[in-house]
């Protein structure tokens, strides 16, 4: 692509760095911004910068938050003795959209995979373990990808909590998160949380 302005070129290149956005789409977006009011573009840029600068991660569950504690954790109407353990924010958003879950969350930030350089120390596992002990959590529901690395992560955390009196369950298999998140319909997701099963029977069940 040939540009008569390096400013334009830089803007296109920045958009093209985003996932799922190629050069052509990037150009379309930039040209759209070019046509828009100055103030609108100003607002757009500032929103992005503020989002990145000011966003916080909940000290309790590592979900995104506007304060030290996220709005889910701060909500006294929710069942705080019930924690759904997820890989990332995407799952929190998906499960919240079902409006069927009234517990709280814990965001691990990934799953254990030494092949990808991710050991337990890189994840929010220690905070989960101490949180369960401190808060006397009754149940952990694991909503991780139904693959062998997900299993590893569940068993590992289960091992760390062997002496704690907490029920460990997992959502029904066959629900794929991650890449397929957008396609998993809300009813199925809600049902899989309702029909969760204890981890002991998980292995043979899959």
């Amino acid at each position: 692509m040939q540009f008569s302005s390096s400013l334009l070129e830089q803007a296109v290149n920045e958009f093209a760095k985003l996932p799922g956005i190629g050069k052509k789409t990037a150009l379309r977006l930039v040209l759209h911004l070019l046509k828009a009011e100055n103030s609108a573009v100003q607002g757009f840029g500032e929103t992005m910068i503020r989002m990145r600068n000011e966003i916080k991660f909940c000290q309790r569950c590592h979900n995104v938050a506007d304060a030290d504690i996220c709005s889910i954790c701060a909500n006294s109407m929710r069942k705080h003795e019930l924690i759904c353990v997820v890989e990332s924010l995407r799952e929190v958003i998906a499960i919240e959209s079902t409006q069927q879950y009234s517990g709280v969350y814990h965001v691990l930030g990934g799953i254990i995979s030494p092949l990808d350089g991710i050991g337990p120390d890189q994840l929010n596992i220690e905070t989960l373990v101490s949180r369960v002990r401190k808060e006397h959590t009754q149940e952990l529901i694991f909503a991780l990808n139904p693959n062998i690395q997900g299993d590893t992560t569940i068993y590992y955390i289960q091992k760390k909590l062997q002496d704690a009196n907490v029920r460990i369950t997992t959502i029904a298999r066959g629900i794929a998160f991650g890449g397929e998140l957008e396609y998993a319909d809300e009813m199925t997701l809600a049902r899989s949380i309702t029909n969760r099963m204890p981890v002991e029977s998980y292995r043979t069940g899959g």
Partner: protein
Amino acid sequence: MLRIKQISLVGFKNYEQATFRFDKRIIGICGNNGVGKTNLLDALYYLCFTKSYFARGDQANVLRGAPGFRIEGHIDNAGQNTTVVCILRENGKKEFLTDGQPYEKLSRHIGRFPCVIIAPDDIQIITGGSEERRRFLDALLSQLNPDYLQNLIDYNRVLQQRNSFLKSVAETRLTDKHLLEVYDEQLVAAGTTVFQLRRDFLQQLLPLAGSYYTGIAGAEEPLSLGYESQLLHTPLRQLLRQGLEKDLYLQRTGSGIHKDDIDIRYADEPFRARASQGQRKSLLFALKLAEYETLKKAKGWAPLLLLDDVFEKLDRQRMRNLLERVCRQDDGQLFITDTHPERIRQEMEELGVGYQLISLPADTATTDASTRDFT
């Protein structure tokens, strides 16, 4: 009855675009060296196994310069028509669909269209390292039992993770005992299942292969075939515990079903050291025939048989015995390649079976012009 009726290739190996229709049970594929005979067989194999028999990575199968490939097959399975489509996208993502439905797991497809292949390099199963024999065994067992394949995939994945973890321990000097325990439990669960299935299955397969060998050799020979596994003597849990220190030192897992082998002996000496060229070929055919018969018995119909260059590179006499069996007694579909159309013609005419001959390169998008039927 299993029949591939048609296959279309786009951007697959040397095929930019080609469609082949198969309307006979026996299909000869001929043409000079390098025209794509083996590639066409491999495409057929792909429809059954969701991967290539020859190339390790999917990317190697993409026509050089093309963004990806597409294989489409029309398969008639006991009167039921199925369209199987495999697409490798530009980003390396593979899609595999039957009648438009994607699989949640590719492993679910394997065994649906059972298939046996014999290619020149297969003599490695007899003479090569243990991984060649495990590959043979895994391809067969996976087609018979989807649980086997799933456990094998799980095992291999956990093994890679464990090895990676052992490496990271060497770098950071931090051993996470809990994580190692989890990996060991996962290995034990999947590995023990694989072991038991291999052990039970080989108890049937190996004697069968032995008796085919005797039949092919025409005389009783001091051949013995046996399953070899560390798990025959010690449970995997114990092996892993005992080997831990060594594993940490070597940064890889030293015991498990990834060390299994089929032990082949001739008068108590290793077969590959002792046996002649001819004896090796006999044993290869015996194993493949046992595979064919086992699949046929388990599925209730004959598997596809893909024979690559067997007259020229392997053995004409032994081949003829196999063909006798497959063409006359069974009703399975057979694809066979040769540089010489004459040779295929002669073999088939002596067997007295109808066949179709495809000459490569096909000069149009449809191969009707270069296809001829002989009944």
